[in-house]
């Protein structure tokens, strides 16, 4: 009996969690008239299309004014580049903090950690003015380069690298390997799961970025998907089925990525929560 109540409660909550998304995907496959015709009372067709159509997708994808595939590509490019650079730059730093002793390392580490309490939202104005002075407005450079530092990533990777036995690294060092070779041949292969965890958090964070692209990019053709969707909604306010199609295009890749790699994503959250 308790098992049944437990199961029912979870089912109801799951419906509340998933209904908006299911409704978005199914709504993108119906005509404009249909969406509103069945939108006033509870019945099967509130959700399920009467006549399935892909016209909304065709309209959205082949719209010269709003080339959504281009926005998806822009965002994929920026988010992948940022993720690659974030992993490289910050894992190198984390490795040095964890395993190499150099003068002032503890002071420099404290400097990094003190930046943890400065949230991106506070940096919006100063970083905009910096990027403006550098002439990087309206360029992917302006999106990518300021995003390549992850202080949280350094903290997280350092914790992980400290678990690698120092003796292995030292013996490789005595055999004449450089630290860069050790990093590539021993440290990187040993930290693939941690790198995937850190990578997927970075990628999803950048895919979702809204405020920074909004201020850096003005050129329509260089726009990121999230800003494009928000603009599209206010412009095409009445073309709701197209809005839903654009939303679905922006969601499906990320949802698939998440479902495949969710173990790592959840691990990352757990780590940040437990370590506090």
């Amino acid at each position: 009996m308790l098992r049944i109540i437990h199961f029912l409660a979870m089912t109801i909550i799951a419906v509340l969690c998933l209904l908006p998304i299911v409704w978005m995907v199914l709504g993108s496959m119906r005509s404009y008239q249909e969406l509103f015709q069945y939108a006033t009372q509870v019945n099967l067709h509130l959700l399920i299309p009467v006549k399935w159509t892909f016209q909304n997708y065709i309209d959205v994808i082949f719209d010269d004014q709003n080339p959504f595939l281009r926005y998806v590509f822009n965002t994929l490019f920026v988010a992948s580049t940022v993720t690659f650079l974030v992993l490289l730059i910050n894992s190198l730093a984390a490795f040095a903090f964890a395993k190499l002793s150099f003068r002032g390392s503890s002071v420099i580490f404290v400097l990094f950690m003190s930046a943890l309490i400065i949230p991106g939202e506070v940096m919006l104005v100063p970083n905009y003015m910096l990027v403006n002075n550098l002439g990087w407005l309206n360029s992917f450079k302006g999106l990518i380069i300021p995003s390549t530092l992850s202080v949280f990533g350094i903290f997280m990777m350092k914790q992980f690298f400290e678990e690698i036995p120092t003796e292995i690294l030292e013996s490789a060092r005595l055999d004449g390997a450089s630290w860069l070779q050790i990093y590539r041949a021993i440290v990187l292969p040993a930290s693939v799961p941690a790198m995937i965890t850190f990578g997927i958090i970075t990628f999803l964070g950048n895919w979702d970025a809204y405020l920074w692209p909004l201020v850096v990019i003005n050129d329509d053709r260089m726009q990121m998907i999230q800003v494009a969707i928000a603009n599209f909604t206010s412009m095409a306010g009445t073309e709701w089925t197209k809005v839903l199609a654009a939303n679905t295009i922006a969601t499906v890749p990320i949802l698939v990525l998440f479902l495949v790699l969710q173990r790592y994503y959840v691990q990352g959250i757990t780590m940040s929560g437990v370590k506090g």
Partner: protein
């Protein structure tokens, strides 16, 4: 001889270590510390971006902000959001974690289902909920109408619009904190429950005397994280309401954005950003004090 060799190793190792940290350190200086220092300086200036005119005004920006009803209202809206979301979302997250904690065949599916909203991007969630909240064609009014509740127009009524933001905020973030709670629950030693059961403690007693006290650290962490997230609230507001109707959903970050990028008042916006920063700083200090007092099982 050996000592000499080791010495030279350490020396080059020291240089390597520094070189490995250097790229990140340059980024830290260029994109965090120098901009923060500059912005701090700008916050004492009347600095218009368009004209480029810059005059030192001392604390005038800060004094003006504390009398600017728009700014004070943005703080009010932000705190309204925080005051509701912190207890409600924490309770929901704990409830969800307790629901998916048992390892039945199907709990894995529900865990994923509860977590999916976290992955949905803010812009997508914002636009979809805009339609869901629509007075005449929105899913919300159809569903509550089916159980006899009269239609509400969440986003066009200034008195209740913030609640629309709150509902979406909780929908999107509760699954995230569920995972944090789940990790906390899994850290509680099972034998505590077993001995409690032997002593005849009911499920409810076990929850109040074992689970809740041992989740104190996790709960403190979640409350502080939620508070900081609430104070930084902006994305949902941008997409869902654009601060409206009648400025009723403008938050602090939204105010900073508008001051900087609509009115181009960089000095004034910088001062507002520093007030935001000090709020977050105070919460972070409280966090450190809190988490330093370790609770031992």
């Amino acid at each position: 001889m050996i000592a000499g060799k080791q010495y030279s190793l350490r020396r080059s190792d020291g240089i390597t270590g520094f070189l490995f940290v250097l790229p990140a350190f340059i980024l830290l200086l260029v994109f965090v510390f120098i901009p923060m220092a500059k912005a701090f300086y700008y916050s004492f200036n009347d600095y218009m971006l368009v004209s480029g005119s810059k005059t030192f005004v001392g604390l005038k920006n800060y004094a003006d902000l504390l009398q600017d009803t728009k700014f004070l209202n943005s703080i009010k809206h932000t705190f309204y959001f925080a005051v509701i979301v912190i207890p409600v979302q924490t309770a929901i997250a704990l409830g969800l974690a307790l629901l998916v904690k048992p390892q039945f065949k199907y709990t894995g599916f529900f865990r994923t289902a509860f977590f999916v909203p976290v992955v949905i991007s803010t812009a997508v969630a914002g636009t979809v909920f805009k339609l869901i909240y629509n007075r005449d064609f929105g899913l919300l009014n159809v569903l509550i109408g089916a159980v006899g509740i009269p239609k509400i127009s969440l986003l066009s009524n200034a008195d209740i619009a913030m609640n629309g933001v709150i509902i979406l905020g909780i929908w999107k973030a509760a699954g995230f904190f569920m995972i944090v709670y789940l990790a906390g629950l899994n850290n509680i030693p099972q034998d505590l429950y077993e001995s409690a059961r032997v002593d005849g403690a009911s499920k409810l007693q076990q929850f109040f005397y074992i689970t809740l006290p041992l989740l104190k650290r996790t709960t403190a962490f979640i409350i502080i994280m939620t508070t900081i997230d609430a104070i930084k609230l902006s994305g949902i507001v941008f997409v869902l309401t654009s601060g409206g109707p009648n400025s009723s959903t403008e938050t602090i970050v939204y105010f900073i954005y508008k001051t900087a990028f609509d009115q181009m008042q960089m000095g004034y916006a910088s001062a507002a950003a520093f007030i935001l920063f000090f709020m977050i700083l105070i919460i972070s200090v409280i966090q450190m004090l809190f988490l330093r007092s370790k609770v031992n099982y």
